[in-house]
């Protein structure tokens, strides 16, 4: 044991901060907005300012940067402030709409290669310029943190996809599936995370609203909770989604592809326009209503994906690739057009557990 003690003591030397730097020699980037123009990249960074605000609630300042590449823009910032940008605590990167339409492989490459950046970094696509989103919240000292929290919450409830960097990269590189990112938009009362941005390869090709995003997440098995509202006006009925599972069977012949989705929902009645009773008859009626609504939304989603955007965000191709690689070898090279001709159907089953806290 005596011989082990010096060894253990030596191991202690391996710990600690060999590159110790004072906090005030670094700019801790909480959030980043990226827009690309003809003259390069325009970045707006939200820097956590520990010298302002309180211990629990540090302040923030904003730093606008420009450069021919992301790395150059960030270096330019260091040259101006004398502090090195640290991206290890970056919560969210917002990409401008036009930038996303032009392709974001360059951004993905940079964030993947930069050792500071955590692979769980959240990315989102803005409506219009990305900088406008953060400028909207300039008065908020934790705009990036609040936005990241909003994105997580939206992801959990199905308002927008929860898509950390590593998962988007996995979809981007995999065969037979296209990536999706959450949308961020601003309105009079603030900034909202809702809807999905659809990508073909690395380029933005379309958007989905909240309902279709929720349906897309159901079909991809990425939704576990949220609120499902069917009908409208006085007849609107809301359910809490307690569980959601999706099973996909895809196959067929190269000229006659078929995908069948079985979506099973477990719901609890949350709010009803009627008297609130939940007897057996009404339960069956609500179950049918919920299943029918989801099915209709799914059909609408398929039309948007197959006919309008022509992008396989559902991952039908991935299912074929995984389960039937021989078929994929034939249809994979021209999957974009093959996907548009694929017959996609859904069977939706909804089961209502009860009325939450109420017995009825």
């Amino acid at each position: 044991m005596k011989k082990l003690l010096p060894l253990a003591a030596l191991c202690l030397l391996l710990c600690g901060c060999g590159d110790y730097r004072e906090l005030d020699s670094r700019d801790i980037v909480a959030g980043m907005a990226v827009d690309r123009g003809g003259d390069g990249y325009h970045l707006l960074l939200e820097i956590a300012d520990v010298t302002a605000g309180s211990d629990d609630n540090p302040g923030a300042r904003w730093l606008g940067l420009q450069g021919a590449s992301l790395a150059e823009a960030i270096e330019n910032g260091a040259g101006g402030t004398g502090r090195q940008a640290y991206l290890g605590h970056t919560q969210m990167v917002i990409v401008g709409e036009e930038t996303a339409r032009g392709g974001i492989d360059d951004l993905l490459g940079y964030f993947q290669r930069t050792a500071d950046v955590h692979m769980t970094l959240a990315m989102a696509v803005s409506e219009g310029e990305a900088a406008d989103i953060y400028q909207q919240g300039e008065a908020d000292p934790q705009a990036a943190f609040d936005l990241a929290r909003a994105a997580v919450q939206a992801g959990e409830t199905g308002l927008a996809p929860a898509m950390p960097l590593y998962r988007f990269v996995a979809d981007r590189l995999d065969e037979g599936v296209e990536g999706i990112l959450p949308c961020v938009s601003r309105s009079g009362d603030g900034v909202h995370v809702a809807g999905a941005a659809l990508f073909r390869d690395d380029k933005l090709v379309g958007r989905l609203d909240g309902d279709l995003t929720q349906t897309l997440l159901m079909a991809r098995g990425l939704l576990s909770q949220g609120v499902l509202t069917v009908g409208g006006g006085e007849n609107a009925v809301s359910f809490e989604i307690r569980a959601c599972s999706a099973r996909v069977q895809a196959g067929g012949r190269p000229d006659d592809l078929e995908a069948r989705y079985d979506i099973a929902l477990t719901l609890e009645l949350s709010q009803s326009g009627l008297d609130g009773r939940l007897d057996a008859e009404r339960r069956a009626e609500y179950e049918q209503l919920a299943a029918r609504t989801v099915k209709e939304r799914f059909e609408t989603l398929c039309r948007v994906l197959q006919d309008v955007c022509r992008v396989d965000s559902l991952g039908v191709g991935r299912q074929i690739h995984r389960r039937n690689p021989d078929l994929w070898e034939q249809v994979g090279p021209g999957w974009d057009s093959a996907f548009s001709g694929c017959r996609i159907t859904a069977q939706v089953d909804a089961a209502i557990l009860g009325g939450g806290r109420s017995l009825e």
């Binding site: 082990l4 060894l7 995999d174 995984r322």
Partner: protein, 361 residues
Amino acid sequence: MKQTDVSCGDNGKLSGRQIFCLLVLFVSGSIGTVGGGGGGRDIWLLMLLSGAAAAPVYWLYLRLARARETPQDCFQAAFGRWAGGALRLLLGLAAVLTAAIDIRLFISFTTATALPYTPRILMAALIGGALYMLLRSGTEVLARVAAPAFVLVAGMLTLSFFASLPQLDWGAVLPVAERGAQPPLSVSFMRGTFVPFLESFFAVMVLVPLYNRPSGTVRPIFAAALFAGAFLALTLMKNTMLLGFPAVSQYFFPSYTAASVVTVGDFFERQELLAAAPFLLCELVKAGLCLTYAGQALRVRGRRGAAPALCIAASGLTLLGRGGMAESIEPLRLYGAWIALPLLGVPAITLLALRLRKKTR
């Protein structure tokens, strides 16, 4: 109580359990890097296959280790004084090189994950110092550490696996052998997953003579090959299901990246620890055993100044070349291709030569 009583079975010898633990830790020293750099979707299957394929190779090593009174004598007995001595030296130098690559990965990993600007020379000196302590203490002390270290490594990797369950995409390992068996076998098997089992030559040659049942079957060795193969296959499978195989193939340290994206809750955010600590622990054990073998092969073990000289040689080798990650990882592919010759070809030919000589007599 005397040290020998506490330690290893009988008279400073190693128990089967300790040999099992040390070998599993030795093979697991490669878990940080295997799977990256174009490993492919079937990397987990190859690891499983490597564990099974290691059994006959271990049998070969075992026969060689027991062919003479000390394992190092067999080369001279088979090929004569000069040729045998040259082979012994070659394998000794290969052990130093393996230890150097191991230390280089240790430094690169630590640099990439924790201490970005610490000079490499300082890191190499610290690790060389830790290895010196290991060498000076001897294999018995290393064996005594092996059982708790094994529990720690297995526990952390298992915990990491369970923590990542909710985020796994179970279908990501499909389709299996999409482009047939040939491409993964020709590249990833011989240059990747099978290499740690081949490197076990150094460990087997050091450990088997210390086994406390000199004539019994060394079951722990075969059990270690199968266990390590299955355990590492499970880890690689988890990495693929978490990150997707194209992404896994892009990263230098896929196990670390996979652990870093797991989110259990706000109370425990740094999941990377579950991958980093076992990796570093296994690397130390591996480098320690390699240098122990080198000391035996170069016949300097026990001599004054031998341990520091070996540590300085291995640590110094790590400082050659530039310090980038690619410079650390890229040579591994070349290394994986040629290391099969000394670690598979030489033992096989030596055993054959020994048999022929025995028949001739």
